[in-house]
């Protein structure tokens, strides 16, 4: 129990401290301090002898409060004070007048807000373009200096982004095509057009589903990994170290990842396509009783020569977008762990958005050119 008693009248008062003045009692101490009168004058004797093991923080809070209500007309003396009180008094004296807190900047009008935003976006666009340029330059230089491609690093990233992704890509492609075939069969069987389930599955998987789903999975797996890896290297000043040794982080860190993904994603897409067709075939066999021979025959009928390529051709573009966004966001990490988390999230969300946007553009383009 914290006790603070003020005794005496007028200009001559005594303040008795007793009970618990340790840090855990801060809440009580604060309440007691609030109970002191708003202004005191004359002399005040602070008697600490009753306080049990007073904490420095508690003493400090008391001093601050006394200054608040007394200064400069109150003469404070201490009796039975803890050993560190002098230290606190010195601190308080040297603190003097606290430096004025600068007023919050005037809130800008909407127009200047817009201007600021535009300039900021312009700058972002500039750095993003510079980043893209850096990648292109390294790739261009690699024609004359193949060593710049860092084959071992490339191989590692192909392994990590491609090979280790195979199980999950297979599973998802298989399940999605089963779902499409199942729902399609329900609708089509009402018209007795069961066999067209084959068209539905093959065209949707080869043109869209295979590549799009693979790209989204890879964006979630590798886009985030790129951003996090490079981001941590930024926080550890590893990228600065590379620059200081005359090596380009873009050449060492970014290009291998971009290239690896550009190689890995089309291959993953082919696997996803195959698994998708397998899923469709299996469901057709089990649910619609279409034998596999008939499935394959119908499959050849349904496909035009370009269907497969219309899907696959998008894969490297998606890969490039995902890797670019991931590595770029990683390179933007500065200062704190929170930034790392934020930019990793941004990398994933943005790369998925870019993939879907690009896919929409491809869809329009392919229709226009009848691909």
């Amino acid at each position: 129990m914290t006790v603070l008693e003020l005794e005496g009248e007028g200009d001559d008062r005594r303040l008795y401290l007793s009970g618990d003045w340790s840090l855990p009692a801060l809440g009580q101490i604060e309440a007691q301090l609030r109970g002191l009168p708003g202004e005191l004058r004359g002399t005040l004797v602070c008697d600490w002898s009753g306080a049990e093991a007073p904490a420095m923080g508690a003493a400090w809070v008391l001093l601050m409060r006394l200054t608040e209500i007394g200064a400069p007309h109150l003469d404070i003396r201490h009796v039975g004070e803890p050993h560190y009180l002098e230290l606190l008094q010195n601190l308080q004296a040297s603190k003097g007048r606290a430096p004025a807190v600068p007023d919050a900047a005037e809130s800008p009008g909407p127009l200047s807000e817009l201007g600021r935003w535009s300039v900021l976006q312009g700058r972002h666009a500039e750095t993003a373009l510079g980043f893209y340029g850096g990648i292109v330059r390294v790739l261009g230089a690699a024609f004359f200096r193949p060593r710049a491609l860092r084959v071992s690093s490339l191989a590692r990233h192909i392994y990590e982004t491609g090979i280790t992704a195979i199980p999950i890509v297979c599973l998802i492609a298989f399940l999605i095509s089963v779902i499409v075939a199942y729902l399609g069969a329900q609708q089509l069987s009402r018209f007795g057009a069961d066999i067209f389930v084959v068209d539905l599955v093959t065209i949707s998987v080869l043109r869209e589903m295979g590549v799009l789903l693979t790209a989204i999975i890879v964006a979630g797996r590798s886009g985030s990994a790129f951003a996090a890896e490079i981001g941590v290297m930024q926080l550890n000043e590893e990228t600065d170290a590379l620059r200081a040794m005359g090596m380009s982080p873009i050449e060492l860190l970014v290009v291998p990842r971009v290239l690896a993904l550009v190689i890995a994603l089309p291959l993953l897409t082919i696997i996803a396509d195959a698994m998708g067709l397998a899923g469709g075939g299996l469901l057709s066999l089990l649910n619609l009783h279409i034998p596999l021979v008939q499935f394959t025959f119908r499959l050849r009928e349904a496909l035009s020569p370009t269907t497969f390529w219309a899907g696959l051709i998008k894969a490297p573009i998606f890969a490039f977008l995902i890797a670019m966004v991931g590595t770029y966001r990683g390179m933007q990490v500065r200062d704190s762990a929170r930034e790392l988390g934020r930019l990793t999230t941004v990398a994933v969300v943005q790369s998925i958005f870019m993939v879907i946007l690009a896919d929409a553009l491809f869809a329009v383009l392919f229709v226009k050119i009848n691909f």
Binding site: G27, G57, V61, L91, S336
Partner: protein
């Protein structure tokens, strides 16, 4: 009837630390008494930081016991971790300030966790701890990434002091500081030690700091600790200790300290 002596602040008995087949500590004994500044010295890889982590209860010893104020750290850690952590303040090698919080928020973090108080009180306490370590109130609003190396060390010390521990454990407090900042840190430490009656355990390689601040030194050699006063260490015949305290760097510091 004479009163029994109070237990030492830290008592480590027969500590064994192993990483796989590599034995770092092999029966290490260490005692730190109240109100002394104890320096821990040892070559790279002799397990100074491991020793500190074990004392803090962050790592389970592979053998032996660690006692803080006469109570077993392992049991304390299992039963009542919060009372254990309130008994000591720690700074880590690289400051280990939370990078997404300002310096003031870093200082308030343990206070907020254990002692609910109003924002005003917390601000005042942050100000107190900033003042204790010689930082400006304005520095409290900065993020760790905006601080210089010396300020990071001071801010970490301020956070370690915020719960008003009687025991401070410092891991390389002056590493990476320029000599002037390091000397200022030594002075600060001595000042706080005398004013707040702290017990300080310090891992350090800084011979200047060692000679300036430490009353006793423990050297980890071959998995064990040899403890002595500085003067005693200077007479010690162990080859590593001789090399350490009589090497070219040490001679210069010694001359200064004695001359």
């Amino acid at each position: 009837m004479p009163q029994p002596a109070p237990p030492p602040v830290i008592r480590v008995r027969g500590l064994v630390s192993r990483f796989g087949s590599q034995v770092v500590h092999d029966g290490l004994d260490m005692e730190v008494h109240s109100n002394e500044v104890f320096g821990v010295v040892g070559g790279s890889g002799t397990g100074k930081t491991v020793l500190m982590r074990t004392i803090l209860g962050l790592r389970a010893p592979d053998g032996g016991t660690v006692e803080l104020y006469g109570r077993d750290v392992r049991q304390l850690a299992a039963v009542d971790r919060s009372s254990l952590v309130r008994s000591y303040g720690v700074t880590f090698q690289n400051g280990a300030l939370i990078s997404s919080l300002t310096v003031a928020q870093n200082i308030q973090l343990p206070l907020r966790e254990y002692y609910p108080a109003s924002e005003k009180i917390l601000d005042q306490l942050a100000e107190l701890n900033l003042g204790l370590v010689g930082l400006d109130v304005a520095d409290g609003g900065k993020f760790p990434s905006q601080l210089s190396g010396g300020m990071v060390k001071r801010a970490a010390l301020a956070r370690a002091l915020s719960l008003e521990p009687k025991l401070l454990l410092l891991d390389e407090p002056t590493a990476g500081l320029d000599p002037i900042s390091a000397a200022a840190f030594d002075e600060l430490l001595l000042y706080l030690h005398s004013q707040l009656r702290l017990t300080v355990v310090m891992i350090t390689h800084d011979l200047d700091t060692l000679f300036r601040t430490c009353s006793r030194v423990g050297v980890i050699v071959d998995g064990r600790m040899i403890t002595d006063t500085l003067d005693g260490m200077l007479q010690n015949q162990n080859p590593w200790i001789r090399e350490y305290f009589h090497g070219p760097r040490a001679r210069a510091v010694e001359k200064e300290a004695h001359g």
